[in-house]
Symmetry: C2
Subunit: 350 residues, 2 copies
């Protein structure tokens, strides 16, 4: 059985997915019983479509040589989401275009169109989820379309997996986490004596921070993740704008030194807590003991801690061995794809 | 839809399950769409059977007053597993009797009988898994019986969940963990200056260690967990006797003080590692930095760390707020039960 994928966005995550499929496609076919084909890809400037499966090395070369998948060399048709999806013959959309928190476009349009066509959807971009949660899942329910989004919540940290599998039957009261890698890296650098500006520059040189780091350092990215986790775990309908949000621009080296003198450090903590009547989400820099599950994490790491009744606390942390970034997000996307493909292949195809 | 359960063993875990069902049964019915009924329970000295559902307060009272569920007051029939399962009309066996690592009885006989009858099985005891893995799953496959066993691998630590959901598509190279709570508690007490004997006595007074702590302090329990995790994750067929095993009896307060002087501590670490040709499992006391994901855990905690390519390391830890023991294991059993009940209710009942 083939699983045909339409992919929107071809940045780090999209290229990571193509690379994984090229390098490990045979292995996945053997292990998971389905051949995964990329049958259409679009980026800001063009599209490549072949319902028989795009040639992945050629696709990656076109992107690196011409700056767009449009250089792959098929006639265009990319500006129309409907035609893009129809011609790909895909059963699944992977949405990995650059996100914004104003209207969630261009991803939101593609996602709606995919749902109308009965495709399943795997999201790597946060805009649609952090702005249109309710609308999105109403549409999906109506068309029996499945929507997975592990990659949007600090993948490959298993926040959603813990909540939906490992903690079934318990009462989750709250979660807190270090969910934004860039701010975390900058705070770690500052705790070693660098200024905020130097920390940002270092993160940019490491390829972690964007040229404009606003979404990370002002807490937007962490706030979007908090809203998505709140919605998924506590069944609310928050948008990123409902999350109390304070970034790390105000944190000084003096603050970090004062914390250090007290056996503490400063981390950008995202928190979602259930009260009797409500669910509250926030992002802010916090002093933490260097011994606690989040306070001990430095540099290249992420973590989440659930407070659960009647258990106590359950923490999951990842310390990357220099492997953060696009490829690990691509692996999370792939995992969602494989989940959908596996359950789909057990039934007659639509 | 009702889910009828036959339960073998009525110690901490079995009583915990009955208590949870009594306290939260209505809530589970509402949340998961099935009414869970305990229709038969056996312990060493008797059985109670009612296909319409046992009265749970009466069952718990019978146990505490007479020392056996036989005091519930129905005619016996308990010595014959076939009759016990038939009369319960159960679709699911929960096996929670006291384990042994010689022949895995009495659980192994009940499990085989349940599989023959087409029941699904949830295991809380380790004997059958740690001795008869291959045989057990061949029988289960043949009868399309599903066998879950989260509770046997240091529940509620999500070791299996991480391996089977969160790390899909990655290459797990090894795992190491603090999987035995009793040894961990004793080592923690010793690191605070208590002798080994005092540590054992304290753990016994806390209700953590058995009167005969052999299975815990000699590493049997951790070794069984390592064998089960190895089999489940790396598709091997190890028994507990294939695991290199060293317990904590040889650890002295001097050893712990020497470790402490070097910023380290001593933990009983279970390890499973994949080599090119083989899978190796071991249990032994190890010096660990007090900063690392396992070394930092003290007292009332457990943890597991996966080394994964190309990710880095993924750790999951639980710090219990005094809630370890029977009730948390019972919650894990219940979680497996709910998983089976949910997927079962989507299809016509057998």
């Amino acid at each position: 059985v083939d699983t045909k994928i339409a992919l929107t966005g071809f940045g780090n995550v999209g290229q990571g997915l193509a690379t994984l499929l090229h390098q490990h496609g045979e292995e996945y076919r053997h292990r998971y019983g389905t051949r995964i084909l990329l049958t259409s890809v679009s980026d800001r400037r063009g599209a490549a479509i072949d319902a028989a499966g795009l040639d992945l090395p050629r696709l990656l070369a076109a992107k690196s040589q011409t700056g767009s998948v449009g250089g792959y060399g098929v006639e265009s048709g990319e500006s129309d989401p409907d035609a893009f999806l129809a011609r790909s013959q895909a059963s699944l959309l992977v949405e990995a275009s650059t996100t914004n928190f104003d209207d969630g476009e261009p991803g939101w349009t593609y996602v709606r169109e995919a749902i109308v066509r009965g495709l399943d959807v795997v999201l790597a971009s946060k805009g649609a989820l952090a702005l249109h949660w309710k609308d999105l899942f109403e549409r999906a329910r109506e068309r029996a379309s499945r929507v997975l989004f592990s990659a949007t919540v600090a993948s490959p940290l298993p926040s959603l997996d813990l909540a939906s599998y490992s903690l079934i039957g318990t009462d989750i009261r709250s979660l807190e986490g270090i969910l934004n890698g860039t701010s975390h890296q900058i705070l770690t650098a500052m705790s070693r004596g660098l200024s905020y500006d130097e920390g940002v520059r270092q993160a940019q040189e490491m390829g972690i921070a964007e040229t404009d780091p606003t979404l990370d350092v002002d807490g937007w990215d962490a706030a979007a993740k908090a809203a998505i986790l709140a919605n998924a775990i506590f069944d609310t309908e928050l948008t990123v704008h409902d999350v109390r949000r304070q970034g790390i621009r105000g944190v000084t080296v003096d603050d970090l030194q004062a914390a250090s003198a007290a056996g503490e450090t400063i981390k950008l903590i995202a928190r979602v807590a259930r009260t009797d009547s409500d669910v509250e989400a926030s992002v802010a820099p916090e002093r933490r003991s260097i011994d606690d599950a989040l306070g001990r994490l430095s540099g290249d790491a992420m973590g989440v801690v659930f407070t659960v009744e009647p258990l106590g606390t359950m923490a999951a942390t990842i310390e990357f061995g220099g492997h953060g970034g696009g490829i690990t997000t691509a692996m999370t996307v792939l995992r969602d794809v494989l989940k959908l493909a596996r359950s789909r292949s057990a039934f007659p195809p639509r």
